[in-house]
Amino acid sequence: MMSYLEEHYELIHKTPRLFALHVTREQLLDTLHQITTHTSFDTLSQLTCTDWIEEERFELGYMLTNALRSHNLMLKCSIARDKVTMPSLALLFAQAEVMERELHEMFGIGFEGNETLYDFALEGWCDIPPMRREFDTLAYVNAHYDFREGREDNLDVKEEIKKRKAAAKSAKETPSGA
C-alpha cells in the first residue's frame, strides 16, 4: 500500500501512521481516483480548510483513511482565498456533500456539482463567511449585542501600581520638603 504512494508522489511522513502529500487543484480529482483504486485509502473521513491569510491562500485538507482505519493520508491542496471554486466530491463520497456545505458557509468556497449548498448552521446570515480570518467576531458582537452593565469599575492594575508608587514617592518627598 505504501509502495505505490512512495514512487508516484513525494510523500511526507508525519507520524508512522499519518502521511501527507501536496496536490494542486487541477490534479485533485485524478489523484484521488488513483489513490482510491490502487491503494486501500478509500474513505474520506474529514474535509478541513485552514485560512493562511498572510500567504493569501486557503489550504484544503482531504483526510483519507484506509478500510482498516489504521493509517491516515492528508491530501493538502492550496487555492486562492476568493473567486476560486473546487470540484465537488459528492459523487465519489456521499459524506463529502455535508462537509462541502459547511465549508461553503464558513469560508465561502464554491463547490461545482454540489447542489445542496444551502445554509448549514447559520440562519439568515448576511455578513462575510464567519470562519475567514478577516471576520472579527468581537466587533460583530459589539455591533449586534450589548453586555450587562455594572462592571465599569474595573481598574487597570499597572496604572494603579504606577499611581501608588508615584503617591508613595511624593509622600516621601513632601515630609522632607515641608
Binding site: 448552521a121 440562519e123 439568515g124 455578513d127 464567519p130 458582537v141 449585542y145 453586555f147 450587562r148
Partner: protein, 204 residues
C-alpha cells in the same frame, strides 16, 4: 456589595408578608396549586439539557415537588432555557414561549443566560436572555448541578406563591415593545407573528 451573595431568603419573606395580607384566601389557594403543580416544557435548548435527565429521573426526582415534563407548549407552565442560546434557537424559544398559556415562567440555567458565559465573544450566541424574554429565575453554574436546578424550582415556587404582580408573563405583556424592539434588532422586522394581537383586548 458585601461578600458573597446578598442573602436572598429574607428579602423574599418580607415581600411575601406584605403581599399575603392583601391576597384573599382564594388567591392564596390558587397560588398554592400553581406552585405545587409545575409542567416543564420538554425542550433542551442548550448544553444544560444534560443535567435535566438526572433531575427528572430517580436520582434527584423532581416529581416530588410536583414538576413533570410535558411534550407541547400548550400544556406547559415553565420553559427552561438551559445554557447558551443561538439566534436560530432563540426564534424557536420565543415561538414556544408565546404559545404557552399564562401564567408561564422562564428559568435561565447557567451563566450563558446572564451575561454571555464563556461564549461571550461568539458571533452566534445571545448575551443577555432578559433582553428578549422575561426571565423569572436564574440558576447559577456552568452547568448547574441537579441540586441547583431543584433550588431554582424551590425559589420559583416561593415566587409563584408570593403571586407578585411583576411576574415574567405580566412583564412580557406590559413591556412588550421593549422585548419586541430587541427581537427585531436581531431578527429583522417581519419574522415573528406579532404577539400583542391576542392580548390587545385584555386590560394590561
Amino acid at each position: 456589595m458585601d461578600e458573597g451573595f446578598i442573602p436572598y431568603q429574607q428579602s423574599l419573606e418580607d415581600e411575601e408578608q406584605s403581599i399575603k395580607s392583601t391576597q384573599s384566601v382564594i388567591e392564596q389557594a390558587i397560588a398554592w396549586f400553581r406552585a405545587h403543580s409545575m409542567f416543564v416544557l420538554a425542550y433542551g435548548t442548550g448544553c444544560g439539557a444534560i443535567e435535566m435527565p438526572p433531575t427528572f429521573t430517580s436520582r434527584y426526582d423532581i416529581e416530588r415537588l410536583g414538576v413533570v415534563g410535558v411534550a407541547t407548549p400548550r400544556q406547559a407552565d415553565i420553559l427552561i432555557v438551559s445554557g447558551y442560546c443561538s439566534p436560530k434557537t432563540l426564534k424557536r424559544v420565543i415561538r414556544s414561549y408565546e404559545q404557552m398559556s399564562e401564567p408561564k415562567y422562564i428559568i435561565g440555567l447557567g451563566s450563558c443566560t446572564i451575561n454571555g458565559g464563556m461564549y461571550w465573544d461568539s458571533y452566534n450566541t445571545i448575551k443577555k436572555l432578559d433582553d428578549f424574554l422575561p426571565v423569572d429565575m436564574y440558576v447559577n453554574g456552568c452547568m448547574p448541578r441537579p441540586e441547583a436546578l431543584i433550588e431554582g424550582f424551590v425559589k420559583l415556587q416561593e415566587k409563584i406563591r408570593a403571586n407578585s404582580s411583576e411576574a415574567g408573563y405580566i412583564q412580557y405583556r406590559t413591556r412588550y415593545a421593549h422585548y419586541r424592539a430587541n427581537q427585531e434588532r436581531l431578527f429583522g422586522t417581519q419574522v415573528q407573528p406579532r404577539y400583542e394581537e391576542n392580548f390587545a383586548g385584555m386590560n394590561l
